[in-house]
Structure formats: C-alpha cells, structure tokens
Symmetry: C2
Subunit: 224 residues, 2 copies
DNA sequence: ATACTCCTGACATTAACCTGTCAGTTGTCC
DNA sequence: GGACAACTGACAGGTTAATGTCAGGAGTAT
C-alpha cells in the first residue's frame, strides 16, 4: 500500500469523530503502531487537526483535504474577495471560518503574494446594511442544515401579513430575487418565500424528517 | 536538491512570462533536459498551466501555487459561499475566475463533498440589486489596479452635485459605510467618497504614477 | 530543407523514503 | 497505583521514486 493512500484512508477512517487507537488503525492498515505514530506526525505536520491523548487514542476534527492547487492571479483575487465578503456578512461560525481559512492561506504563501491579499481586506463590498433580505440568512441557513422548523412572519406583496410554520428546504435565487422554498403548514403545500419579504424568522424546537409529500426531492420532482 | 523544491523553483523561474528552453532550465537546476521534460509533465499533470512548443520552449501563465490545505467543514462552507458570492457580484473577470476556481476545487474532491458544495450554488446571498453603492465597484476596482484617473459625479449629502477628476487610491469600509479614497483634482487634496453617493464613475484614458503629495502612502502617513 | 527544441520510451543505476524492531518515556483514566 | 496507550529515538533492511543515458520521433520558425 502506498503511503499516500494510507494517509488518506486513515483520514477517512477517522472522519467519524470517534477516538481510534493506533493499534486498531495499524491492524486495519496492515502496519505496526510505530508506523501509525509516524503517519499521525506527518498528518499533523501538514496541518490536519489530529490529536492524540496518551491512554485514550487519536481523534480527528472534521476536515476536508485540498491537494495542491494552482491559481491564476485573478482566481486568487476572487478567492480573497470571496473570503473577505464571507468574513463580513456571514453568521459567526462562517465569519470565523472565513478568517481562519484566509490566515491558513496567508501562512503558506510567500511574502509578496500575502501583501497583495492584504490589500483586499480594505476593499470589500458593501452588503451588510443595504441588502434587505439578508438579515435572516443565518437563521435560515442553520434551520435548513439542522432540519428545524421555522415560524416566519411574511408580508405578501398585497401587504397581508401572515405567520407560517414551515419546513425550510432550500434557498435559491431566481434572477435577482432570493427565495426560500419550504413546506408550509398553513397552506399544506410547498411555498416559495422571497427573503426580502420575510419580516421575522424564528427557529422552533421541532425537527423534521423527510415525509411523503413534503420533501425537497418531491418538490423538485413536480417542477416542470 | 529535493524534487519538490526544484518543481517550485522552476515555477518561480518561469513566472516572468518569458519562453524558457529545457536546456537552460536544466543547467540552472543541475539536471538533464530529460528530467526537465519529466518535471514539466508533472507540473502540467498537477494543473499548472505550463505549455511547451517544439522548436520554441516552455512558457507559463501567471499562477499562484497553494500547497495541500486541510479545511474544516465550516471553512469549506465559507470558501464555497465566498466563491458563490464573488461569482454573483463581481465584474466579468472575477466572476469567471470564481467559477473556474470552484470547478478546479470540485475536480479534486471526492463525490460526497462535491455534492455538498453543489448545494451552495443555490443558497447564496442577495446583494446585487439591493446594495446601492456597488454598481461602480468593477470600474473602481479596475481603475485602482490600473492607476487610471476617473471622472466621478458625486452627490454630497447636502444635495450638491459635483464632477471630479480623481486619482483613485483605495477602497475601504468604515463601519457599515463604504468609501473610496482618492486624490481630487477639483480640491487639490485627498478626498474620501461614499460609494453610495457616487452617481457615475467613468474611467479616463490618463494614467497616473505616484507623485509627491498625491500618493496613498502620503495619505496614510497623514492619518492620526 | 535545415536548425532548433520539445517529446517519449526503455533500462540500469542512484537516491530518497519507509518500515519493523526494540527500548525507554510520559500522560490519562479509573 | 496500575492498566492503557500515546510518544520518541535509533538502526538495519526493504521499498519506492527519481535520474541519466540513449535512441528515435515530431513540430515550429526561418
């Protein structure tokens, strides 16, 4: 077994977030624990957040590995711009992730390129206070991810204000308008809400699972 | 010399955009041309845009190399979010760069992770049509980069509309307001313009170089 | 057509990397 | 304190990767 392959397989094995003993990994990979210790050193040296506690075992934070990438100047600019924007407008978790990733990239680049990236930290786009629809994004994002029901206060274009309990399924854009697709319990049907017309979005304690007639797959199957 | 180091040095050597013969690179690196051919194969296989023409030599498009990176899930999310936003709001060059970089990343990731990244293409933030100050960003960005003078039509908060010829130096944000710092020829001094109050921004054919009293470094030196 | 330079395959040799073994140390958990 | 398991260094031997050499071919520019 090639070492590179083994390092990758060790990472896949440990993605479950559980603790793994070097002994068990070793027998799985057909090597000795000493080799596993070396592999862990190598993974850690290359930035993989793997940690080992004596008497306990090894644990790996959730990670995604990107192999070497080659970017054109303008791709690099897009990358820095995108991270700067995310660092400005996203919820707290995404903000700090964008910052930490930017730092990670800075750390691996030569000085000259880092200086160029630095310039973009002062030239990002004005979004946070002028984009009417974004104030609920963090809540919506979290609810979609967690499959958590929401209570929405929604102002239809006629001016009617309603309150809805929904299963949030997906966010998307249509041209320049941004939409939340959800299963709406008031209407017992799929509904698509414009984010700029949502007055409030409150996460409820109830979670949902896919249910006949109410899932995203079914919504998408009925589209023309 | 370690091969990895040599590959990196070959890329640095070729960053000048000139054509290089394998023979010259070889003697510089202390190897044979056959090894340089192999190195070029390896660089190309890893995505470096290097091309060789028989009878001519090798040439390299401008690139920035990122070594292997390890990202947490949420960093990966921030990356995809940032690229999706940049792909939505930036000028044509940055848009296509964001897209091509996203594709590059997709290409190197296992299927499962790619599917997660795909979901974000439908869940990005609404900025383009609601952010008052951004419509000139592309022009401003290009002018700063190219050191090109601009003609601005500016509405002061009093309502007075003026036309200015400026040397654009820097964009930045102050709290939630976005600003362009420039040397203004109407006032013969540095001025800072709010982007949301710029009516129009037109690039002029004149370029500028740093001139005593008018450069960004001097503006920053006079700040308290 | 000629000069030039990239291009590729094959093989023997060289260089670099990796592994298992062994011994000893250290920290966590109960 | 004892069981457990990570941790580290050193060395001999094994494995993999890389290189130079040689031969032959192909495309560009003049």
């Amino acid at each position: 077994m090639l070492r590179q392959n083994r390092l990758f397989e060790i990472m896949q094995l440990m993605r479950d977030g559980q603790t793994h003993r070097a002994e068990d990994i070793a027998s799985r990979m057909g090597v000795t624990p000493r080799t596993v210790y070396r592999d862990m050193d190598t993974l850690a040296a290359s930035g993989v957040p793997v940690s080992g506690a004596r008497g306990v075992g090894y644990r790996l934070a959730d990670v995604i590995s990107l192999p070497p990438l080659t970017l054109t100047d303008v791709e690099f600019e897009a990358l820095n711009l995108g991270l700067a924007i995310a660092g400005e407008v996203a919820d707290a978790a995404l903000k700090s992730a964008a910052l930490s990733l930017a730092e990670k990239i800075d750390a691996v680049l030569p000085e000259r390129i880092t200086a160029e990236a630095e310039a973009w930290k002062f030239a990002v786009y004005p979004f946070a206070d002028t984009a009417r629809g974004i104030r609920h994004i963090a809540t919506l994002r979290a609810a979609i991810k967690a499959r958590q029901k929401l209570r929405l206060t929604y102002t239809a274009q006629s001016g009617t204000v309603t309150t809805r309990r929904v299963r949030p399924l997906m966010m998307e854009h249509l041209g320049r308008i941004w939409l939340l697709t959800a299963w709406c319990e008031l209407r017992s049907d799929f509904r698509t809400f414009r984010l700029d017309l949502i007055e409030s979005a409150e996460a409820l304690p109830e979670l949902f699972t896919d249910e006949a007639g109410k899932s995203l797959a079914e919504f998408q199957a009925q589209k023309p």
